[in-house]
């Protein structure tokens, strides 16, 4: 385990957030990350944000991040 993917916080009220993963919006709780703010990228597992993602570091080591970056610049192009 465990399946977790990075997503950006696009709505936040108390500890209830909406996160965006390539245009898909999921609900997530931020109870475990009291310090998060709007626009932060977080790692989401089982409906909870469990960590902040260091975007600079992520771009170096995480191919998914290059994709997210590309996506945020050019909406929904075909990959591969």
């Amino acid at each position: 385990m465990c399946l977790a993917i990075p997503a950006r916080i696009v709505e936040l009220e108390a500890d209830r957030a909406v996160v965006d993963a390539m245009g898909n919006r999921f609900k997530a709780k931020t109870t475990l990350l009291p310090e998060v703010k709007m626009g932060d990228v977080v790692l989401v597992h089982a409906g909870f944000a469990i960590s902040l993602v260091d975007e600079e570091e992520a771009k170096e080591t995480w191919e998914l991040f290059a994709e997210i970056d590309k996506f945020e610049k050019t909406q929904n192009k075909v990959s591969g």
Partner: protein, 340 residues
């Protein structure tokens, strides 16, 4: 008497009496107008050119009934059309059997019927005969649809699993997983907001163009339940050949991939409703690709792999993005979201 309660289907609408007649004449016929159907005979009598036909049947039980990019009605027509199309025929006529849950709002029924009529018109097919039944509340998810379809075989087209040979190329006409992930995104309990759209579409225009232009098409199948993985595994079952595909060549929208990643699904196992897999001789592959890409329903078409020697064990192998190799198995038949 003011009544804001929407009008609904009653069990009696399936009884074969007055209510059934009114349902058919007032609500079903207007959407599906054609001479054959208007006769309301027990069977449609059709004059066909002599030759051979393709004949198929399908049932539709999708939930939710309406989704981004389509609805159960559109799905029913396109699904039947596609089964006929990939078999190498020009779809001609459809039957339409409705099993309606008592309590379904007439407004909903009419929307679906309108969609069926429109989709049939767009795809050049007629609904020539039909049936309507009702079941008690709780016995159907609003409505179930069954169809049968007839298509006229295109001359000189001979496709089948037995035509596939080592060296043949494998193509898909566009991005995978769109339909299945869209349905899941609108499903109660595990739904999420998204811009995903079902790719539900009738493919006969494109498939006929391919069959009529490209020689060397060996086999074609639409990649519905079970996705690409199911089609490829069906191909190699008991075969003397295997299949190798390249992960980086399989077209998938990033949003679809991200949604699948979030839920733990494998896109290769996810249903499509506007995509087919075609196996074509190496010589015919380029033309196949060109025709697809020139067509609205094939813009993202790609060559994803080839047919190889089975070496004793016919398998579907995938070359991964990192240069590794792994097997693509036949899907279980139910994708469950996971957290682990």
């Amino acid at each position: 008497m003011a009544n804001t309660e929407p009008e609904r289907v009653l069990l009696a609408h399936g009884g074969g009496g007055q209510l059934t007649n009114r349902l058919i004449r007032e609500r079903i016929l207007p959407s599906l107008k054609n001479d054959s159907l208007s006769e309301l005979g027990d069977s449609a009598c059709l004059d066909l050119e002599s030759g051979s036909i393709c004949f198929t049947t399908d049932s539709y039980v999708v939930k939710p009934l309406f989704f981004n990019g389509g609805d159960i009605g559109k799905l029913a027509v396109c699904g039947t059309v596609n089964d006929l199309a990939v078999a190498g025929s020009r779809p001609l006529v459809l039957t339409l059997a409705l099993i309606i849950e008592a309590g379904l709002e007439f407004g909903v029924l009419e929307k679906i019927l309108h969609s069926i009529g429109e989709t049939a018109r767009l795809n050049g097919v007629s609904i020539v005969t039909g049936d309507t039944k009702t079941v008690e509340r709780g016995s159907a998810d609003g409505i179930f649809i069954n169809t049968a379809g007839i298509g006229v075989r295109l001359p000189g087209v001979h496709v089948g699993l037995d035509k596939i040979a080592v060296g043949d190329k494998i193509l898909v006409n566009g991005t995978l997983g769109d339909h299945g992930m869209t349905i899941i995104s609108q499903r109660e309990g595990i739904g999420f907001e998204s811009q995903l759209q079902s790719d539900c579409a009738g493919l006969a225009g494109l498939t006929c163009a391919l069959f009529e232009t490209v020689s060397g098409i060996r086999f074609m199948r639409d990649a519905t339940r079970g996705g690409l993985a199911a089609v490829l595994n069906e191909m190699v079952e008991n075969a003397a050949f295997g299949v190798e595909i390249c992960e980086k060549d399989v077209p998938i929208k990033p949003a679809v991939q991200a949604a699948a990643d979030m839920l733990g699904f494998d896109v290769l196992n996810i249903a499509n409703e506007g995509k087919f897999v075609v196996v074509v001789s190496a010589e015919g592959a380029d033309e196949c690709l060109r025709i697809c890409r020139d067509h609205a329903l094939g813009r993202d078409a790609a060559v994803i792999g080839e047919v190889v020697d089975a070496q004793g064990v016919p398998l579907v192998e995938l070359q991964t993005k990192m240069g590794g190799k792994r097997i693509v198995q036949m899907p279980y038949g139910r994708e469950l979201p996971r957290i682990c």
